[in-house]
Subunit: 330 residues, 2 copies
Amino acid sequence: MNIYDISKEAGVSIATVSRVLNGSGKVSSATRERVLHVIRENRYTPNAFARGLGLGTMRTVGILCSDVSDLYLSEAVYHIERTLRSFEYDSLLCCTGFKLSDKKNYLKLLISKNVDAVILLGSHYVEEDPADNEYIKEAAEKLPIFIMNGYIDGRNIYCAYCDEYTATYRIADELIKSGVREPVFLYRVNSESTRIKIRGISDACAKNGVKFGENRSVVCPKGIYQCADALSELSESLSFDCALCADDLIAVSVLKYAAANGRSVPGDLRVCGYNDSILSFSTSPELTSIDNKMYALCRITADNVINKLTGENISPKTVVSADIITRQST
Amino acid sequence: MNIYDISKEAGVSIATVSRVLNGSGKVSSATRERVLHVIRENRYTPNAFARGLGLGTMRTVGILCSDVSDLYLSEAVYHIERTLRSFEYDSLLCCTGFKLSDKKNYLKLLISKNVDAVILLGSHYVEEDPADNEYIKEAAEKLPIFIMNGYIDGRNIYCAYCDEYTATYRIADELIKSGVREPVFLYRVNSESTRIKIRGISDACAKNGVKFGENRSVVCPKGIYQCADALSELSESLSFDCALCADDLIAVSVLKYAAANGRSVPGDLRVCGYNDSILSFSTSPELTSIDNKMYALCRITADNVINKLTGENISPKTVVSADIITRQST
DNA sequence: TTGTAGGCGTTATCAG
DNA sequence: CTGATAACGCCTACAA
């Protein structure tokens, strides 16, 4: 069933059908009704490919996300998808994982699908070696690229991110002032965000004369209990009185570790999560966490996409500041 | 830059370029190399619309999901997306929310985008009134529909779901046998899954001579604390010694309520979550929960999609049984 | 207000 | 092994 069939059955030309379909041009209400009737009768829906071919767009935005099963990213996908859809844009989701080569392939794939723009969700897409970000700049020559919570400088690349440096600096500073002497930073993936957090903590320590060597930034395994076990092991060779975590889930593991090893939180061990997710107030003690304004970042990113695609001028860089949400664990 | 430009530059016809591109037909390795060279030189990528037009498919599966920010659904999206992609199928994600009219519109939208199949994620798409499911059956006339954790009988509709009735029946039965006399069931949305759980609990109560009136199935507000507050209020008019929850997040609220009201868990109040998510072992006491085999369901669903699309015969209905994961809260 | 015809970029079918 | 050429279904000048 295509536009020809409809036009035949309605006794008009395809142009007229097309006009009815798109509400463009003038069509007498009599013919409009007739055409509409035939369309409904046959439950006809236009072929999106053909339409896209002519129009050069299918109103679709590609979203690259390392892992939607991550609490933070899934919320982000949710908000961005909903916002885009309210402007009648679809979202093509790709979960890339963490390997650079995969990220590259998925980006290529999205481009070959003729998406109108690509959103990179999270700082996992900002590589440590600038040369590894070249593929993003290349892609930006073909379509606008948006990064949520990450920053890459380049033409046609638009970033909205949270000032995580200041947040981690401040929380570390506060904790040290309240007595912490042996902090550790726990993370899972060496993303740009991770590196920034380490800098923040490191600088706060340096300023306060607290030692924070490389051995105090620790990679953790994925499962809650695996992670807790790893901490038990770590504690044999390294003493710590404070765990700053790259996300709330790691902080949960720290609580498990503390419970299993008879360490009281916050008395004997301060714990700080990150992202201010539901986890941070599901535990007891509840977790001090850092709200890095994911909602705001999503909103800004989605708005930027829409504005860019409708030809408006948008700012290549928007920075939002994080909040420290103090709860029982510190 | 299109196939004509490439063919011109390589001194061959577009047919040959197309053959090189698709690895179809015979091309001498000399010409192949020449064409490939030009393609790389120009960083040419074929236009997906045009390809889709000719092929009638773009290898894309639509996913309808009420709310990806839900822990359970986001994990499901993740697994399904990854599996489909490993077979080179894209995922077009739509978050529909819970309104029937929206669900209908989104389904239509996906169909108009010529997706090859649609996956309905979660039982939110199975309405209480069968007449309200007609739109799904209609859609199934155009393309195969897959339901993850829900069941609708119909041609070209394929369902994989978990036997939640037995799981809730058993847990309720066990709890009653261990002394529970005044259970309540807490949920958020009246989905098919919710209704099944209520039946399971209700039947177990009936069998054991425990009263379980309609007032014992209670709708809860969304936020953790709002929900806990609602429970405090509820407890003034209704006494309960056990809270069976439709998901783990609600169970977390119950723990908050218990802590705030000096009720000990499990001594004074048993709590049971649902979905066996990370939340269930983030709390203390850890939550008894029901593992409804989301991973397995996703795998089955995705495999079904692939098999169906490659023309194989698949079963219209696959049932998996749930596990009760007993932890400290009961 | 309506119709005709050309173009969008592929793939696929025939000839050669 | 290679090249013309006809689909694929829609949109949109341009004509009428």
